[in-house]
Symmetry: C2
Subunit: 199 residues, 2 copies
């Protein structure tokens, strides 16, 4: 049912096409944008164009950047022999927030998901393999999410890497720091037991 | 902490400025927009510009339209002597969905809210009064939301309309159709009792 002016319906549809935004929320957002001063609405629109035109994948690690290569790959102090493989650019942010990791990254831009028809060729896996084949890499840390798809992707990639005789590790599973045993699920507890270490 | 390229940070900030969108959701939306094909991102941006430039308030009822007057005000079959006063354009949609109401509307674009510094002058109240003062209006139905702010706004406007000797009514309060008495709150039940009618 189209009740609003076509251009407004179109804007609502655009918002509704975003992930996690339903029809009602899309209406609310569209009304909000209409209520903005002219220049703010225009600057919203240009923010989309600007980001889309200037941001691209770092040719080395596939993280998002607006430079020739990203700030991590361009940093002389980072250890280029250690690659942390993550599924999304936002995962890089999570690691960088910790300020502990001194290696570099590789962003897959997704995980393998047969249900959603996402196979290895839809991810930046070949780019990772060619990085490793160039030599100088000692360890690859698989840091995809600890769920079925993340595990499958990590497993698949680790098999591809095996011929290069590079150390392949996986992030530790276990109880989150500061959490309560009472609320830990069984799978996590089992993994935490398996991964127990000497004190 | 600015980790992403500036143009991406800017786009994230724009999304985060929308109502109900937090920083994390804004990141997700910005990444999604970046993942769109070039032409779709551009068409998103132009949807904002188009809607903003073509949609304005109907000079009669203040509902959003891209024409000279809105489709309801321009419809010869609608009863111009009955005005339904709502707070938001989306409320018009709710009534139109019912296909029962044959009168016209007046959109206030908000409700009086001292907490948010929204007074009568911030709403389209003077436009309503001047519509009524032109004559030909027999009934004004106050259809603001049944909450404190909606009630206050309805009360305020009904006092302003009184001198014009126009019938002013308020939507009925009561149990929603199809709902369960068990879950009805006390205030609603009290109002439903007060508003009981002969069967």
């Amino acid at each position: 049912m189209s009740f609003f002016p076509p251009s407004l319906e179109n804007l609502i549809d655009k918002f509704a096409s975003l992930p996690g935004i339903g029809k009602k929320s899309a209406q609310r957002l569209a009304f909000y944008v209409l209520s903005l001063p002219e220049e703010e609405a225009v600057s919203f629109a240009s923010a989309i164009i600007d980001a889309k035109s200037s941001v691209h994948c770092c040719p080395v690690c596939q993280n998002l950047t607006d430079g020739e290569i990203c700030s991590v790959c361009g940093d002389e102090r980072r250890d280029k022999s250690m690659i942390c493989v993550v599924s999304e650019p936002r995962d890089v942010l999570s690691f960088e927030r910790g300020r502990e990791y001194k290696g570099v990254y590789h962003v897959l831009h997704g995980v393998m998901s047969p249900m959603n028809h996402i196979g290895p060729d839809d991810l930046k896996i070949s780019e990772l393999i060619s990085r490793i084949s160039e030599g100088g890499v000692h360890e690859v840390i698989m840091a995809t999410n600890p769920d079925t798809e993340g595990d499958t992707t990590a497993m698949y990639i680790s098999r591809l890497i095996k011929p290069f005789e590079v150390r392949v590790t996986r992030l530790a599973y276990g109880i989150p720091v500061g959490s309560n045993l009472e609320f830990a699920d069984e799978a996590t507890l089992t993994r935490a037991l398996e991964g127990r270490r000497e004190m």
